[in-house]
Symmetry: C2
Subunit: 641 residues, 2 copies
């Protein structure tokens, strides 16, 4: 039994009991009609197509002056009849889901997405990778698309998935892992049929399919070089791309992780990232495809002894010289932070630094560093802060599109942790409208997911989830310093786990203080890469937001933060508080027995046990580590081991 | 091309040019004759069998009064004729290899092994284990016996291996990993034919074959329980063992890791280790087989917060209550140290604490914690110290037999690092005669391995290898505190890698000091488990040998060691010294080009590059870690990062 997530049958009651007219034609209009017919069959309503006939209480039609764009729609009408009008079929589809989530009190107005592409990147492998498994950083079982090297062909499941994505506004997916291994490189060629089959499903929900490709694909297919300026290489990509579009006419494009963490790239041939990306862009342009070129480029063989090298600068330093040189159909895909999806980081300095480049900002819905879907960690508040610019330049001001790494798998609840469904939902909605309030999104998601649930369930979900990201932050790495996770799998604490490694993720704790000096005055200069006023704010230990204090500064344990407490006391206080909050989450959930389906209740209950255990482990390891180093006792005399 | 190791053809020159008479019959006499005939065919000598005929210059015969035992031999004679006499064919075989290594100046006298069984445990898997690979803790390629689930059937290679083992005195092997997975559990039953085939090869060199078995084997074969007191379980083992001996009449017995690191055992059924071991012993007794029951039992889910639990006590506390209750054909197999094959540990307190139990002491020839056959680390000096009792009770006084975990694989040099061959050779020789001098053993090994090599090669090997274990100790964990390795693979430094884990291997470093308080007065009491005078010596921080100072004591960084330097300065001094010595090894080896075969020279050269790199990494991580914690600068002002 697969969980219905935010599309349970019961959520369709209001719509399904109406008399509905749909005017217009096309694949997506058919999808809309099919959805409505299923709902009406269940709840007694009726769907009619075409103009004329008896009056309806929901009218859906195509038309208008084009101002609605490709995906926008307008809602109007009165108490007797709701009118949904869209310029294109996509708009009808999104309008339908709008009505669904607004239940019987739909807003009126014009609705358009903030950005034209809202994309999910799957990190699914075709073969089971010996270390990473079927899904890299996947915490929800196997892939929806492949199992042990073979396509799963569970198209009903993929259809259900495509519906869920459309219902939160996603319109693009990349199917496979950005670390493209040999088998996966064949998806572009010999195994294109598997891609076409999946693309056929996603197409029905307005979602275009993209592929992660290896920059070395020509070599993997027998050529002697992958030099992007080599005529034969360009011809190979052009002809390969022609074949792709012959098979998948609405194919989205290529996603590339090049010259990053061992993946091949143009550096091998002495070429630039722009050379590499533009070659692929040229092959895709006439078909309407795009290149997503990841900016996650840094030296992963750094010498920890060398404090002059700063991974947080790397993407900025690699890419800003190329601003304005990328083709129009290249999207530079930048992780939201300068390191790697930590629970707290500043915004990446690259995002605001390339005004003449199309920037796609990448979030991570899969909770690699935020509890791996064993911990409740509602990420919308974090994304919202970044989008709005709570502690730095607003991401929404610079982003031309939004991308996220997916968190689903073949788990019956889709996301492993049932409450992690909210992260996927919220990402889609924020990508459509970055100004949405995370608490309101939680209401939306909970309203759809638990239709008819008692008020106390909604109250409890807010109590558990609203602040859960900050709770997670409290019991893990303090004050923006990041990491402190077990190397490799990245779950659970290991304060020095990455401290003496080549990965560039350090905290520099010694007996006197902790944090990375990234100031211009005495550090790596990373603070100076930000626009006004942030460069100045970050540079000063007194003005820098507490949240990022140890990201930008190496501070003595006795340094007093803006909050009025010392760094060391902040570490103790937040770690005791975070673990206590996790225990409170568990207590609250225990009171919900009977209000959510038993299997879902039980899954969350078990996971909360693990979260409490893990939060206590984090608390004790981090507190002990810093007590042993600093020698400063907790001002409140609590137990530190 | 497989390296000849310590049996190159040229080593047979002196013997192969003689006229030799062999008297006696039996499988091993035939082996001796075959060896001699091959040597004589190459070097012009002659082998005759039976009594009478022309005088010979080497006479080998069976006979005597039985005082030589099953494996002993007597060498006598004069300059014209050497006489080798043995009570049993085994003695002729060992006498032959004695003559080989003594070249043309054989000692005279009577030679018998110190213990009747000198065993190698292979940790080979039949299937490739997803984490551990084909050989657990194997650093020399794949298994000699299996590849990817199938028998290799490379019997020529196994024959060459058996010769090498016999030539250093080994007379027993366990073929498979003590962590017995499902496939490997079938070696005892369905796949016994594979074992028989290998046993047939080893038999020709006087080596008996043992199997590691799962205590849960009855359950894996379909029964509902493995309770050692259950009549049906006992019957299953009895009948299974009858089948084993019907197929392999000289089968050695079972090796069992039970109730250890997740392996099944008698605890599941509320039974004791004695119950479990004795059940197997009863099944084996009438066939002449033995049980090797490993004492490596501890809580591997320990809470690091709880300083009252001490893994170093665990084996002692588990097993001493059962002294005198094991059957005569049970060997309790005890790792030499109380933790796990660290470069420096005290002797296990269990070894001298069970006078009424047959103790097999287990060493680790494979260099899991001593450089993984990428570092030169000649282990004979460490084993010799333990056997003699340099810093604790003498192992040789309590051990009834010696066992070691093997270090070979399908690597062309057998052991990955060509110089690691010396460890395998030396283990066999020390097991035969624990009082042998490690430097003399190095001469023996080098003389056989590099016949006719110039004096400067031998000098250089001594300079590189004699002190290499202490060099390794210097640049790794200090003063007996142990571990500080990367979790999982155990290669390279990670000072806090195991500090906050459930594995029981801690150093307790804080800003004031480091080490584990294992005293009776204020610590875990482990020091008190030793016999006189060691309990008292270990208890006192002033009397405790420096080598073990941090194993038994938590000491301030400014504590002055017996050597006259402080703990912190000792850490700095030894780490700078150890890394420098590694660099000196590399320089010495560079001077040997042309004196060793090019492939072997080149392999060692490459590995020394890695050793120097790794030693510097150890030096810098350990020094930086303790400088950051202690704040004490190096008295000599050297670079600490």
């Amino acid at each position: 039994m697969i969980d219905a997530a935010w599309l349970p049958a019961r959520a369709w009651r209001a719509i399904g009991s109406r008399r509905i007219r749909v005017t217009g034609h096309g694949l997506l209009v058919d999808t809309v009609v099919d959805e409505l017919r299923q709902a009406c069959a269940r709840f007694g309503g009726e769907v009619v197509r075409g103009t004329g006939g008896d009056p309806c209480d929901l009218e859906m039609s195509l038309g208008g002056d084009g101002s609605l764009g490709g995906e926008g729609y307008e809602l109007s009408g009165d108490e007797t009849c709701t009118v949904l009008r869209a310029g294109q079929p996509h708009g009808l589809l999104y309008g339908l889901f709008h009505l669904l989530r607004s239940d019987d009190s739909p807003a009126t107005g014009v609705f358009r997405p903030a950005v034209p592409r809202r994309m999910l990147d799957h990190w699914d492998n075709v073969d089971v990778h010996p270390v990473m498994g079927q899904v890299e950083r996947g915490y929800a079982g196997g892939s929806l698309f492949w199992r042990a090297g073979e396509p799963r062909r569970d198209l009903a499941r993929v259809t259900a998935y495509a519906r869920l994505l459309a219902a939160c506004g996603i319109n693009a997916v990349a199917l496979n892992n950005v670390n493209v291994h040999a088998t996966e490189a064949r998806l572009l060629t010999d195994r294109l049929g598997e891609v076409a089959e999946l693309a056929g499903v996603f197409r029905h929900y307005g979602i275009r399919t993209h592929l992660a490709v290896s920059f070395a694909a020509p070599v993997l297919h027998g050529m002697s070089t992958a030099d992007p300026l080599d005529r034969r290489v360009r011809a190979w990509w052009e002809s390969t791309t022609v074949d792709v579009y012959a098979t998948i006419p609405d194919f989205g494009g290529y996603l590339v992780k090049a010259d990053s963490e061992g993946q091949p790239g143009p550096f091998t041939y002495g070429r630039s990232h722009a050379d590499g990306a533009n070659m692929l862009a040229d092959a895709l342009a006439r078909h309407g495809g795009v290149v997503h070129w990841r900016a996650f480029v840094y030296n992963h063989r750094q010498d920890w002894r060398d404090r002059g090298v700063d991974r947080a600068r790397a993407a900025h330093d690699h890419f800003t010289p190329h601003d304005g040189t990328f083709r129009d159909n290249v999207v530079l895909q930048v992780k939201h932070g300068p390191l790697d999806f930590q629970a707290r980081e500043p915004v990446s300095p690259l995002i605001a630094a390339m005004p003449d480049t199309r920037i796609g900002v990448e979030f991570q819905v899969t909770q690699e560093y935020t509890g791996q879907q064993r911990h409740v960690c509602y990420l919308a508040p974090m994304w919202s802060e970044l989008l709005r610019g709570a502690h730095g330049p607003a991401v929404a001001d610079s982003a031309a599109e939004f991308v996220a790494v997916a968190n689903v798998g073949d788990d019956p609840f889709w996301t492993g942790h049932p409450l992690a469904q909210a992260n996927l939902y919220a990402f889609g909605r924020l990508a459509w409208e970055p100004g949405l309030d995370p608490a309101a999104l939680l209401d939306e998601w909970a309203g759809l997911t638990f239709p008819g649930a008692p008020r106390r369930l909604h109250d409890a979900l807010h109590a558990i989830m609203d602040d859960s990201w900050r709770t997670y932050e409290r019991y893990t790495a303090p004050l923006g310093v990041g990491f402190m996770v077990r190397p490799g799998h990245h779950y659970g604490p290991d304060v020095d786990g990455y401290e003496y490694t080549p990965w560039g993720t350090y905290h520099h704790a010694d007996r006197d203080g902790v944090g990375v000096d990234r100031t211009v005055a005495t550090g790596t200069g990373c603070a100076g890469l930000y626009p006004k006023p942030w460069a100045k704010i970050y540079e000063s230990p007194d003005e820098c937001p507490d949240e990022l204090a140890l990201f930008f500064h190496h501070l003595p344990y006795q340094h007093v933060l803006s909050s009025g407490v010392t760094v060391i006391q902040h570490i103790y206080d937040t770690h005791f508080a975070g673990a206590r909050e996790a225990a409170e989450m568990r207590e609250r959930w225990a009171g919900l027995a009977g209000t959510v389906p038993p299997a879902k209740y039980e899954r969350v209950r078990e996971l909360l046990d693990e979260q409490v255990r893990s939060a206590e482990e984090w608390r004790d390891q981090v507190n002990t580590y810093f007590f042993r180093k600093s020698g400063v006792p907790d001002a409140r005399g609590r137990r530190i081991y």
